[in-house]
Amino acid sequence: MTATVVRASGLTKRYGSFTAVDGVDFALEENRIYGLLGRNGAGKTTIMQLLTGQLFPNAGELEVFGRTPAEHADVLRRLCFIAESQRYPEDFHAQHVFKAAPWFFENWDASFAERLIADFRLPLKRPIKKLSRGQLSAVGVIVGLASRAPLTFFDEPYLGLDAVARHIFYDRLLEDYAEYPRTIVLSTHLIDEVANLLEHIILIDQGRILLDRDAEEVRGSATTVAGARAVVEEFIGTRPVIGRESLGGLASVTIDGRLDQAERVRAAQLGLELAPVSLQQLIVHLTGTDLAGTAEQEAAA
């Protein structure tokens, strides 16, 4: 039986007339890797700031390790959240961050941090202000990994990281997670990069949750059917379509829902190609539907 680490219901955060998080309900289970996905400005960082007690919600209920997170030392000591736009004390160098970290994270592993610093080739004696975007991301990634906090947040960890560094993050995270299981929440809009890491997906758009499902389920939940346009249209019939592209007599249509064995055989007999949909494609379909929806309505009217 797994424990629930976070439980939010009707969680709302408003800035004046703008609602950044609009009455969301979700729960995070212990020792899983969550992807908090969504477009820029969807409310990802705001949700993480609420969960870590940095912001105060306007409405709704929130429990992290059984309590409201804000101002509860016993909750906060189990969290680690280095925001994408994290501010550091004036004139801080990266080495100062790692020097102070063990005072705040009881599970801090200094040798692991050192290894990561070498892996990412992070210059320790350079002022944080002078670091590149990728190096800044590396600071957050190293703190997040080496802190081994029971609930760790990574806010856009891939921002500015080069291909090698992204790969290092991916490997080290999985390695360390296997050895020291914990709950990890990873926010990003670069979905394909992290798709294989995630066990559970929470997709948000304009402050609302569009999807809260197991990652495996999400991956298999849509299929792209490609072939001659007439044949494709006939095959998909009345299934819900989430994406449609066509070129001349050919069409490629993405449908919501999985196909059973008989349907697959039939598709093969009709000469249609079936392809799995990447998480990124699916999410683009889901978060882009607003536009498509209004366009269709306009056409209908």
Partner: protein, 259 residues
């Protein structure tokens, strides 16, 4: 469901057993000293530079033929000894504007952050007060660093003994640090709107007091009151102001949010 229930009960027990944890407050003070140049290095650099200039000026004037005792008398009005105060206002501001956001990211509570930061302010104020009060005595002992230069034995310093110099510097340092930090908590909680309200409120209050005193013709009473409380009284008022700013800052920061 049972797992959730135990997870809820356990921290509850921890909370009540050890509510006051000095370690969690002291680590904030340590956080401020990770990079010691901010609280210790730069103020002393400023003071050292001001001292150097004072000595050079004294050397030039004396070298030009002015009598050394008159030079020392003239330099009584030098404000060089106060030069680090302006920087310390900025330190108070930055402690909240930058370090606060960082400490929250590292899982500190606002309460512990403010208490730890206050401890750091007291430490810095004591350190500066001891050093300046002692330097005043040294300057008197060496008769102005052997060339009649006056930097520390100026203004109100060097007239009522070491303890008074200590007390006045302590009150002043604490006031500048807490005013800087306290005003910044207002920004962190209510942003620009809060800052403008605070600023306009302070201006209205000061102008209002001046106007009332002027129209009621109370200035002679005010002057004699200040004369009655003396310098010790004035610095005690300043210290009281620092304490008010510290308490207000605590109340404001409890709901402040990082940028």
């Amino acid at each position: 469901m049972t797992a959730v229930a135990t997870a809820t009960a356990e921290p509850e027990a921890q909370m009540t057993s050890t509510r006051f944890r000095p370690h969690e407050i002291l680590r904030i003070a340590r956080l401020h000293t990770v990079n010691p140049s901010i609280f210790f290095g730069v103020p002393w650099m400023i003071l050292g530079f001001a001292w150097l200039i004072s000595v050079v000026i004294a050397a030039i004037i004396t070298g030009a033929g002015a009598p050394s005792d008159q030079v020392q008398e003239g330099m009584r009005y030098s404000w060089a000894v106060l030069s680090p105060q302006w920087y310390l206002v900025a330190v108070g501001v930055q402690a909240i504007a930058f370090t606060f956001s960082f400490a929250l990211g590292f899982g500190a509570t606002r309460r512990d952050y403010w208490l730890g930061t206050s401890a750091m302010f007291v430490l810095v104020a004591v350190e500066m007060a001891v050093a300046i009060a002692t330097l005043v005595q040294l300057e008197k002992l060496t008769d102005g660093w052997w060339i009649g230069a006056g930097m520390f034995d100026t203004l109100w310093y060097g007239q009522q003994g070491w303890w008074f110099d200590f007390y006045s510097t302590f009150a002043l340092e604490l006031a500048v640090l807490f005013i800087g930090a306290g005003a910044t908590t207002v920004y962190m909680r209510w942003r620009m709107r809060g800052m403008l309200t605070l600023l306009i409120g302070a201006i209205v209050l000061i102008v209002g007091c001046v106007a009332i005193t002027t129209f009621a013709g109370w200035w002679p009473q005010v002057v004699s009151w200040f004369a009655a409380i003396g310098l010790v009284g004035v610095f005690s008022l300043l210290l009281a102001f620092a304490v008010v700013a510290a308490v207000a800052g605590y109340l404001v920061i409890r709901r402040a949010t990082p940028r």
